[in-house]
């Protein structure tokens, strides 16, 4: 790889700062006592503690998955702190009571928390380490019956809803990291759109890991009742530490009849340095249940960060005529590893799913697409279209595609297309010969490559994603 390409991909991580704030950090280690401590800190009802302990028992019986195409030293779950929270006044009445240091942190990250300064038309729930520190536009949303708050608050204020839906899409024993999350999750966002309501603004959660030796285990639950619709955005960053932090989240979406949920992520966790030291292990379970007829769930993700990404936002298409979509751009550089994709489980009749995955690998990174399209015997007339494209930058990166297709209904139609391309010296020379420098050239090639996915992102996110990608890959070409 030429020096030019190298400089292009190797831009510094700009969110790597640490906020100096007094925190409550639980002692390291995991056991029933840890779980009881978390539950007690949050004043949780007994059923939730039960849920956690049951999950913990399930987790103890399970084995860490080894099938992903990623490699890392064994995680010592006893060396992690499972709770870290900035010390602040117990009950916040308004944003003005939030620690100014925190407000500054989020302003620096481009997520101002004061509603008068906030992103127009986007309500934000902000998670700092293990707790939600602020939620904007909450009252405005409540006027139309929308509940948007932290998970901790939802557990106390709307226990019937949480109890009904928590674990209904991702059961406690679903997989190793989901079980761990179900045992120790600390906070996350909760969002409920009642029957017939179209959410008037985009909702979003911004996750920030700040404490070096803590893990982040957040839990997000979004429910759209009959005919409701919502667009949800998620962003994440973390300081640059030389150690690895574990991020094991669970996101559950439920769409009832004719409901529509669009979930977009720009994941920019710290990815480690150019030698692969440090970075987040992003082991996440995201799943949507298109439960009702004509419901629709759409995942759009731009994955640029994390040392390791292991994530398969999926849709279970249970309602007849329901629609599942997955649009993904995953970028890896240096020694990053990503094994990401989706699962589309067709159960209902005439269900349709679309998968568009774009993997970009630079440096010495390894980027795998893994996806399952499953058509059950009940899914008459189901259709899937998958397109998986990989792009290699330089000559030391790897790209893999692992598509799994299981069809048990002969009336189904499944299509899969895949391609691999490479940004090479000759392409860059062609641009240069037309007066276009390497940076502009790479940005143009990448944006062209990712166009189908970026079109799916809400406007502000699309702009952000384009910038992030340019930044991320600056210096990678040459």
């Amino acid at each position: 790889m030429s020096a030019l390409l190298k400089n292009l991909v190797n831009q510094p991580y700009k969110h790597g700062f640490v906020t100096d704030i007094e925190s409550d950090v639980a002692p390291k280690g995991l056991g029933e006592a840890t779980i009881r401590m978390i539950s007690a800190k949050k004043d949780e009802p007994a059923w939730l503690l039960e849920f956690r302990l049951k999950s913990y028992q399930a987790w103890l019986q399970m084995k860490e998955p080894v099938w992903p195409n990623v490699h890392y030293p064994k995680i010592d779950f006893q060396a992690i702190s499972y709770y870290a929270a900035p010390r602040q006044k117990p009950k916040l009445k308004s944003i003005d009571e939030v620690d100014p240091e925190l407000l500054r942190t989020f302003e620096k990250l481009g997520v101002p928390l004061h509603e008068r300064m906030a992103l127009a038309g986007v309500a934000v729930d902000v998670i700092f380490d293990s707790v939600s520190v602020a939620t904007t536009y909450k009252h405005k949303l409540a006027e139309v019956g929308i509940i948007f708050c932290s998970m901790s608050e939802a557990v106390l204020q709307h226990p019937e809803l949480v109890k009904k839906y928590l674990g209904s899409v991702v059961p406690t024993g679903d997989n190793y990291y989901a079980a761990l999350n179900s045992a120790v999750f600390t906070d996350g966002s909760f969002c409920f759109i009642p029957k017939g309501v179209k959410c008037p603004m985009d909702l979003s959660t911004y996750f920030r890991i700040n404490t070096e030796e803590s893990g982040q285990f957040e839990r997000t639950l979004i429910i759209a009742e009959e005919g409701a619709s919502v667009s949800y955005l998620e962003g994440c960053t973390a300081p640059a530490f030389s150690s690895n932090q574990l991020h094991a989240a669970v996101v559950e979406l439920v769409a009832l009849d004719n409901a529509d949920i669009k979930y977009s992520t720009v994941q920019n966790w710290y990815a480690g340095d150019e030698n692969g030291v440090g970075g987040i292990y992003n082991f996440v379970t995201k799943r949507g249940l298109a439960k009702g007829v004509n419901s629709r769930i759409s995942w759009t993700q731009v994955e640029t960060g994390s040392a390791i990404t292991w994530k398969y936002p999926s849709v279970v298409l249970r309602g007849d005529n329901s629609v599942g979509e997955f649009y993904s751009v995953a970028v890896t550089n240096h020694l990053q590893q990503a094994d990401t994709g989706t699962k589309m489980i067709h159960l209902g009749k005439n269900t349709r799913s679309t998968i568009v995955s774009k993997g970009i690998s630079a440096g010495r990174s390894n980027n795998s697409y893994r996806g399952l399209v499953k058509i059950a015997p009940t899914a008459a007339g189901a259709r899937n279209y998958s397109q998986c494209d990989s792009m290699l930058i330089g000559d030391q990166s790897g790209a893999n595609t692992f598509p799994y297709i299981q069809v048990r209904n002969s009336t189904a139609q499944v299509e899969h297309e895949a391609s691999t391309s490479k940004i090479g010296e000759d392409q860059l020379f062609y641009f240069a010969q037309r007066g276009i420098g390497a940076e502009a050239a790479v940005s143009m090639i990448i944006n062209g490559f990712c166009k189908d996915v970026f079109q799916q992102l809400p406007m502000e996110f699309a702009v952000e994603a384009t910038k992030l990608l340019g930044f991320k890959l600056e210096g990678s070409v040459g």
């Binding site: 391309s421 020379f429 062609y430 240069a432 010969q433 037309r434 007066g435 143009m444 062209g448 166009k451």
Partner: protein, 269 residues
């Protein structure tokens, strides 16, 4: 056309260049003045295409000796994109495909980058669309190819037209056409040649790198140079090309060989 008071556009002196440690250009001298059309001919492997790529700045080639002045400036002190912005244009023998990037977008970025360098006005997408469609008529091109990805799925002829279209947009002072005639049928060759002819002015110059004399029936050169083993071994007028077509290259190489042996013998004496 040879003009009396023309200025020197390109001056190459004693140019040597290697690829993977193997010397391809072995002391090349070459001068181009404004208004002139030069043809460089020669057998396969004589170094013609290497010469074109070295001038454009391809990183696979290492310049080991010699000097090149472009309009009085040291060409090798400039990065490839700076050379392009300054007015050096290479029409590629094999234009590369760039999937996902719309041709219109690519052409506009290229055009605006070069315009900005010259302190001239840049065009927004709508203005550019009108402008580029006008230029495309010159080459008898179908407008729908603006929406296609750069060179992707283009036929050989379409790729070559796209190259000349870029030349028309960028108005370089030195255009090097590397085997632009290869892969063209006779109709396409005529259209492309007419396009090139309309772009020749007293202020710019064209260097045609070609195997065959048939291109030179359409774009008439003022000078024909024969390259062999990394050097120009003979220079003549249009008639030389016709003679080459009739007799091939061997007689020239033999003649050159004999001449250098004689010279060497004289030197040892």
């Amino acid at each position: 056309m040879i003009y009396q008071n023309s200025k020197t556009i390109l001056e190459v002196r004693g140019l040597r260049a290697t690829v993977n440690g193997i010397e391809i250009l072995k002391g090349l001298d070459f001068t181009v003045k404004s208004g002139e059309v030069h043809a460089i001919m020669g057998p396969n492997g004589s170094g013609k295409s290497t010469f074109a790529k070295v001038l454009a700045g391809h990183s696979a080639y290492e310049v080991t000796a010699g000097q090149v002045l472009f309009e009085g400036r040291d060409l090798f002190a400039m990065a490839p994109e700076e050379r392009a912005r300054a007015g050096v244009f290479l029409a590629f023998q094999y234009p590369i495909e760039i999937p996902g990037v719309a041709n219109s977008q690519f052409l506009r970025l290229s055009y605006n980058t070069v315009q900005a360098q010259r302190g001239k006005e840049e065009l927004d997408p709508l203005e550019f669309d009108d402008f580029v469609r006008e230029k495309m008529k010159l080459l008898d091109m179908n407008p729908d190819f603006l929406d296609r990805s750069v060179n992707e799925g283009f036929s050989g002829g379409e790729k070559k037209r796209n190259e000349i279209l870029q030349m028309a947009l960028l108005e370089p002072s030195l255009a090097i056409l590397d085997e632009t005639d290869s892969g063209l049928d006779i109709d396409a060759l005529r259209v492309v040649s007419q396009g090139v002819n309309q772009l020749i002015t007293p202020d710019n110059a064209v260097v045609l790198v070609t195997h065959y004399q048939r291109l030179l029936n359409y774009i008439v050169p003022d000078f024909v140079h024969v390259m062999d083993a990394g050097r120009i071994i003979k220079t003549g007028g249009k008639a030389l090309a016709l003679e080459l077509e009739e007799r091939g290259y061997d007689w020239l190489s033999d003649e050159h060989q004999a001449a250098s042996e004689t010279r060497a013998a004289e030197l040892t004496l």
